[in-house]
């Protein structure tokens, strides 16, 4: 780790009230993002990756959720920040884009109005000024007829176009960090590639750091420099993407990488991780993956801590030093 991180999350936990009970969706999530860095959070549905992203901006429903821990961003803890102060961070310092661009855009306002109001709320710009900047923002996300899109309603645009507009809204105030929650999942494969290229391009051009949340390892591998693996509400591995892909230290990361379809030889059974994620109500005290892990030992039922496996490589597995786990690529494949 070098220099002051842009975002330093520690001890982040999210609790949901379900009736009279409270369940803990994520526990002790900790990671940091350097200025301009592109970090991916990967994990299967329900592992807490989306909840983590929403918790950072205080977007979880206040009536049914409780967030603990801290997230230091530019010298202030943005968890539990007063509403007014939080609104100065949202959209201005940290932008966010969502999975389904159709339902994430207000159907009865034009794209231009939806970009313009963000500019006006943060910079108090005039209508004409807001329009100029909105059109420029649309052009910067690769929309070839920004004037037309500016005056269009969301339903008049294609899925890819809507996601570009969504990105323009999130980036128009030039935030330092962009949280992208499954931004390509709802799109066609060809459009996916365009949106990923666009995010990479914008991030490197403007120096905006990226927190890319996805269940798609391939997308994370293409986009990010560092990969955080989450499992059952915990971070289980945090490593540079190249290390994690070649030599994962956590059996779950390894299992995820091996179950990518395109990596199996033709005709061979697709490797998969057997078993199911433990229920939130009934989480084991020790390693949460132990019940599904081929390498589990009696010692695994003790609580696991994040340990340093290599420089810049953290893993939540007591056995990480004993195991030599397969990754997506072998060293040989990588060299070739």
């Amino acid at each position: 780790m070098n220099g002051e991180p842009l975002l330093a999350v520690s001890g982040l936990g999210v609790h949901f009230r379900m009736g009279r009970q409270e369940v803990q969706a994520t526990r002790d999530v900790a990671f940091s993002i350097q200025p301009g860095e592109r970090v991916g959070i990967v994990g299967e549905s329900g592992c807490g990756k989306t909840v983590t992203g929403l918790a950072l901006l205080g977007l979880l429903p206040a009536a049914t959720s409780r967030v603990e821990g801290s997230a230091m961003f530019e010298g202030q803890n943005i968890i539990g920040l007063a509403p007014r102060a939080l609104r100065r961070v949202r959209g201005r310092k940290i932008g966010m884009i969502f999975q389904e661009p159709m339902s994430a855009l207000d159907p009865v306002f034009t794209i231009g109005q939806q970009i313009g109001e963000t500019i006006r709320v943060h910079f108090g710009a005039t209508r004409e000024d807001a329009r100029t900047r909105a059109v420029a923002a649309l052009a910067s996300v690769g929309i070839s007829s920004p004037e037309r899109v500016h005056d269009s309603y969301p339903h008049q645009l294609s899925g890819g176009m809507r996601q570009r507009a969504m990105i323009a809204i999130a980036l128009v105030c030039e935030p330092r960090l962009l949280i992208a929650d499954e931004p390509t999942t709802a799109l066609d494969v060809t459009i996916q590639a365009q949106i990923i290229d666009l995010l990479l391009d914008l991030s490197s051009r403007t120096g905006t750091a990226l927190l890319f949340i996805s269940h798609d390892l391939g997308v994370i591998a293409e986009t990010c420099t560092r990969m955080i693996t989450m499992y059952a509400g915990q971070v289980v591995e945090d490593a540079p993407v190249d290390f994690a892909l070649v030599r994962p230290r956590h059996p779950y990361t390894s299992g995820l990488l091996r179950s990518l379809p395109r990596l199996s030889p033709r005709g061979a059974a697709l490797p998969s991780i057997s078993g199911r994620v433990p229920s939130l109500r009934d989480m084991p005290a020790g390693c949460r993956f132990a019940a599904r892990c081929a390498h589990a030992q009696p010692g695994c039922d003790a609580p696991q801590i994040m340990a340093s496996a290599a420089p810049d490589h953290l893993v939540r597995c007591a056995r990480h030093a004993d195991l030599d786990l397969p990754g997506a690529l072998t060293e040989l494949e990588k060299v070739a």
């Binding site: 901006l57 159907p107 009865v108 999130a170």
Partner: protein, 311 residues
């Protein structure tokens, strides 16, 4: 769009008036006998039957009526011999005043209640609004009308118990007369508006695009008043459309309680005395009003919601 809608309206008008015309034929008793008066000779009855065209076949009678109606001639009342159109035009302002006053009350009270409840779901205020709304929907308006008359008119003498004054003659007196019937009708309207607005707004405020608005740094106030209200206005429009239709229907009963000379009492009186031209005329004008209202609402849909085609 409007041209096509207008074409669809004609069959509706024909069907509605045809059904009423047909139903009136089934009413027992011979209208000619009634009109001829007591102790009339058979010749006199036959003469009257001929004079009113009652001896002609059903379809001829209906066809003639429809043809005249298309030329704004709704024929004359059997009882008073006044042109039906004049009677309707004379009575309609009274009913219109009550209906529009009660619609205004429904919106002015119902909208704030719905918003307050939706922004604090589960709170005590929300529980109050929700239970008040259930009560308002369940209360029969004629019963409420009688309670209002007994309390505010007979006991406390704040409002007049019966009758109506034309708005053009004395506006404040007209409103005073219309107040109690309008409130009696508005109880259901307030409840309906508050309930529908609450549930639609709760859904909107928990939607994904509202989450985006929060993520952009907008204040909850801006989100509610700008995005919330514009999105909920489509629901509100639907509620208003249904409400106007219902109020027009309910006013018949409430006008009877307050002895108000409006469209409601006109049709009730005409139906009791087999004054068929008046019944037909009132039904036709109600159908036309309801259809025009629906058309207006469809046009407003297209204005409020860009997803509704304007082709």
């Amino acid at each position: 769009m409007i041209g096509r809608r207008l074409l669809q309206i004609l069959p509706v008008i024909v069907l509605a008036t045809f059904v009423v015309f047909g139903l009136l034929q089934l009413v027992p008793g011979d209208i000619a006998v009634t009109l001829a008066g007591e102790n009339a000779t058979d010749a006199r009855i036959a003469q009257i039957r001929q004079a009113y065209g009652l001896d002609q076949p059903f379809f001829v009678q209906y066809g003639k009526w429809l043809w005249n109606a298309a030329h704004l001639d709704l024929s004359r009342s059997y009882l008073s011999n006044e042109p039906v159109l004049d009677q309707i035009l004379h009575r309609f302002p009274t009913t219109l005043l009550i209906v529009s006053l009660s619609l205004t009350i429904s919106l002015v009270v119902g909208i704030p209640l719905g918003i307050v409840a939706a922004t604090r779901p589960g709170s005590r205020l929300d529980t109050f609004v929700t239970s008040f709304a259930s009560l308002g929907v369940a209360l029969p308006n004629f019963w409420l009308a009688m309670i209002l008359v007994a309390t505010f008119a007979l006991n406390w003498n704040i409002f007049p118990a019966t009758g109506a004054v034309a708005l053009s003659k004395d506006p404040s007196k007209a409103l005073l007369h219309a107040a109690l019937p309008a409130f009696a009708l508005a109880a259901g309207g307030i409840a309906e508006v508050a309930r529908q607005l609450r549930s639609a707004l709760i859904e909107i405020l928990s939607s994904q695009y509202v989450r985006t608005l929060h993520a952009k740094g907008l204040s909850p106030t801006a989100i509610l008043w700008k995005h919330g209200l514009k999105n909920v206005s489509v629901t509100l429009l639907t509620v208003v459309g249904l409400l106007v239709n219902r109020l027009l229907g309910a006013t018949v009963v409430v006008e009877a309680v307050f002895a108000i000379p409006g469209m409601g009492s006109l049709i009730v009186h005409a139906a009791i005395h087999k004054d068929f031209p008046v019944v037909q005329g009132v039904v036709l004008s109600m159908v036309v009003i309801v259809i025009c209202m629906n058309l207006l609402i469809d046009i407003l849909y297209a204005v409020l919601d860009p997803r509704v085609g304007r082709a």
